[in-house]
């Protein structure tokens, strides 16, 4: 048994206990093995997918090195975002200031790559050495005639969330630049999908089939030009609400664009997302298209999902993800597969989010905010889970414990969004949970009997070995 520190007691809750009032939005305890990241990380992941922009990290080399092509946001055109540019500050600049170097770097890069806009990320020490990043950006912007936008992402200014906000502020500077390009009256902006493994493309295609034009994708497969015209769209559809609600609010205030929160993960949530948009347009044709789309997609995927469910029924999962919205959808999608979520948490959830989680979870579920590996592994053992859904740092922990794993963060190679995403998700969960490797794990000895009797779902499909 490990001790949960007094200070953290309020951040862990088991559903069914009397009072439900989870403490959250607190900075991580000093000295914890927090899974959280910093402001810079938050800004970087949100802005990263804009493929025709220059992303220059102003700071020592580390921050740029760690975010070099790390996210798997794919582009259908330019790929400038996958390069890693850094001012690589040295001791000299730390003493004398890095403005000159920043100016030279920006100028060189813009001349070499001709980007449509440039983002300059200020990292930890830039804030301290007092570089006037704003002024340098303004000067280069005037000289080069493209938007050059400072992103205030000094790591210590808060948590990842504050980085999202900085990113939204930066994005907002690009909004409203294009009043010319014609746009359908039935157009939307897709906010908060980052096109991991091409997910934005799936969603965009649904909207096309519904008869809805996508004015811009912010920021998956994003383009500076598209964002420029986004203020003329009729609706903002926000997926990753943690990161993008602020931008939606800004656009509502300035351009009176309403916004809706959605999720494209799982069958119900995807359908609900599409209906939400269809209803917004109050157009009979769009509504009919949507009905048809949802019906045909569900018909198509249902039998497949059902097949996986047969084997997975009764398994238990732990979910620990960055944003809490993702957690909601995961709980529901897992339920579709017959899997119970017994531990669930996020790095950045707020009060409302946790209240909602409390509502949708079964009694006995452990709900945690900003957990650490020791706690997490304890909850996993106590609740005897079969599967963990999390990010990079969680994967080996699960494996060491003989628990299956599914990445729902940056290391995704297959799309999990939309209806086909649900099939992919089911397959991934199945392939990991039911893998014969667990019979070799000491933790699973005695449990593998269960695995053995379950028929191999994939083989019943009759075509080939989809396991690998």
């Amino acid at each position: 048994m490990i001790e949960i520190l007094k200070e953290r007691e309020q951040q862990v809750y088991e559903k069914g206990e009397s009072r439900f009032d989870l403490a959250c939005e607190k900075p991580s305890l000093a000295g914890s093995v927090s899974q959280r990241a910093c402001v810079f990380c938050g800004s970087r992941v949100v802005l990263y997918p804009i493929a025709d922009a220059l992303h220059l990290v102003h700071g020592p080399v580390g921050c740029a090195a760690y975010t070099w092509d790390i996210r798997g946001s794919v582009s259908s055109g330019p790929e400038l975002h996958r390069m890693s540019f850094s001012t690589d500050l040295s001791e000299r600049e730390v003493i004398y200031g890095g403005e000159k170097k920043l100016y030279a770097a920006l100028t060189e890069l813009i001349e070499a790559y001709k980007p449509r806009a440039a983002f300059v990320y200020a990292t930890c020490i830039v804030g301290l050495i007092g570089d006037d990043v704003q002024a340098v950006c303004a000067r280069v912007e005037a000289e080069q005639a493209i938007p050059v936008i400072p992103v205030h992402s000094e790591g210590f200014r808060g948590s990842k969330k504050d980085g999202y906000r900085a990113a939204c502020e930066a994005l907002f500077r690009l909004v409203g630049k294009d009043d010319e390009t014609p746009l359908s009256p039935r157009s939307i902006n897709i906010l908060g999908d980052f096109n991991l493994a091409g997910e934005t493309w799936i969603i965009k295609e649904y909207y096309r089939r519904m008869g809805v034009e996508t004015a811009s994708c912010i920021t998956g497969d994003g383009r500076v030009g598209e964002i420029g015209r986004s203020h003329r769209a009729s609706l903002n559809v926000v997926q990753c609400s943690g990161s993008m609600t602020y931008l939606a609010q800004l656009m509502k205030k300035t351009y009176h664009i309403p916004f809706k929160r959605v999720s494209y993960f799982g069958i119900e949530d995807t359908a609900e997302a599409l209906y939400t948009v269809a209803r917004h347009f109050k157009d009979a044709q769009v509504l009919r298209n949507t009905e048809e789309l949802v019906a045909s997609e569900v018909r198509r995927i249902y039998p497949e999902v059902e097949r996986f469910r047969t084997s997975l029924e009764g398994k238990k999962a732990a979910v620990y993800v960055g944003g809490s919205f993702k957690a909601f959808s995961l709980v529901k999608a897992l339920r579709h597969l017959g899997i119970k979520t017994v531990v669930v948490g996020s790095q950045t959830g707020n009060k409302e989010d946790y209240d909602y989680l409390g509502e949708i979870c079964d009694p006995g579920t452990v709900i945690v905010d900003d957990t650490n590996p020791l706690e997490l592994s304890r909850f996993m053992t106590e609740k005897d889970v079969d599967l963990l859904i999390g990010g990079v740092k969680e994967r080996p922990i699960a494996y060491k414990m003989g628990v299956a794993f599914c990445d729902h963060n940056h290391e995704r190679k297959i799309a999990l969004a939309g209806f086909e995403g649900m099939v992919n998700f089911s397959r991934e969960v199945y392939s990991s949970t039911m893998s014969p490797v667990w019979q070799f794990s000491p933790a699973r000895i005695g449990r593998e009997a269960r695995t053995a009797v379950d028929a191999d779902v994939e083989s019943t499909k009759g075509h080939g070995a989809a396991r690998c």
Binding site: A30, S32, C63, R82, K101, E108, G155, K400, R444
Partner: protein
Amino acid sequence: MLLRHTPETNTEKTALTVNPAKTCQPVGAMYAALGIHNCLPHSHGSQGCCAYHRSALTRHYKDPIMATTSSFTEGASVFGGQANLMESIHNIFTIYSPDIIAVHTTCLSEVIGDDLKQIINKAAAEGKIPAGKRVIHTNTPSFKGSHVTGFANMTQSMVQYLSESTGKKTGRINVIPGFVEPSDMEEIKRIAAEMGVKTVVFPDTSGVVNSPLEGKFRMYPKGGTVVEDIISAGDSTATLALGRLASLPAAKLLDTKCKVPLFPLDLPIGLRATDAFVDQLRKTAGVSVPESIMVERGQVVDVLTDMHQYFYRKTAALVGDPDHLVSLVQFLTDLDMKITSVVTGTPGGPKFEKAVRACTGDETFVKSGAGADMFLFHQLVKQRKPDLIFGNTYAKYIARDEDIPLIRIGFPIYDRVGHQYFPIVGYRGALRLLEKILTALLDRQDRDAPEESFELVM
């Protein structure tokens, strides 16, 4: 993918790094700290650094990497991080109960100017460090050096804080293995044991970052050098420092602090460097090289002789960490290969260039430190079209763009396994390298061979 962004002709970059060929010091310090048994590395700065470094090491080793952070906020950056570190030390010992905490700074805490030594003393005075437990620290500003120097700094701090000379010699030999894989550290220990030499190897990440699956999550896997051994390193007969950049600072300090004489050596990668290592062990410990080691050596020479015609005049471009590069270059030139270019983001200074040139001559392009990045390396590859590329995972973009086989060596390797388990040092490591190189060359030859000369026997 990067191809379209990389022009062939050399463009002068004056103020920036494009696709870095190094990363920052703290990650190296974190890795070194993991090489102490029951140690929890602690990152003194904001949360992001710690998260990045843990992700990087997790991706490379595919093992849980534990480390804590001081979780700086705005307040800490204005008023200093003392309160955060004091609280961290208290919390870490209370919750995670390591034997030792190894603190490294980040760029932020460096610029603020936190005096770690003083803070740690204060924590000790206030009873925040339980009896028998320890806290050590190293300075790793990220605007200097690279992950390699960060590793070196933390290793040096182990000596600084821990090693002592009691006057009673243990007869053991210290080996500082350098910034190498756990498999390499393991192999170094095996060779010494095979020769009957008693050693203290530190840091030693074997068994920590390549731990076995035991069915449970261990905060502290079983491996790592125990603190007592690092303490007693001050009573050893001598220190072998493998790799000038990663190991020499610690070895020098052992010499000045505890009067343990040091022998600087290259990383034992390839035949000659391994010979030198084995020979030095033999001389220093006063043992003779056993038959079993001679057999291993003989096997390497045998393969090398059998296959020597395939190496003749093959060209290679290398990017990586200085200590690796120096030994690798020597090995490849011994194989009759030509080196077109050698690039490292770590400032290696004139000594590095000299060491490389001692093997390659003047034809080879050598660059380290500022301006030496993957962008430059890509340009060099375009211009000189080598037969092979040696580098970490990031070199795969270049390998693909230029259609040249890549031998993955160095840090980080995110997309393959094996580095955790199979050494590249020692004679066995040399065999493995030979196999990798030959397979790459011969696969290429097979692939490109016209139908009529595509044959069963090479």
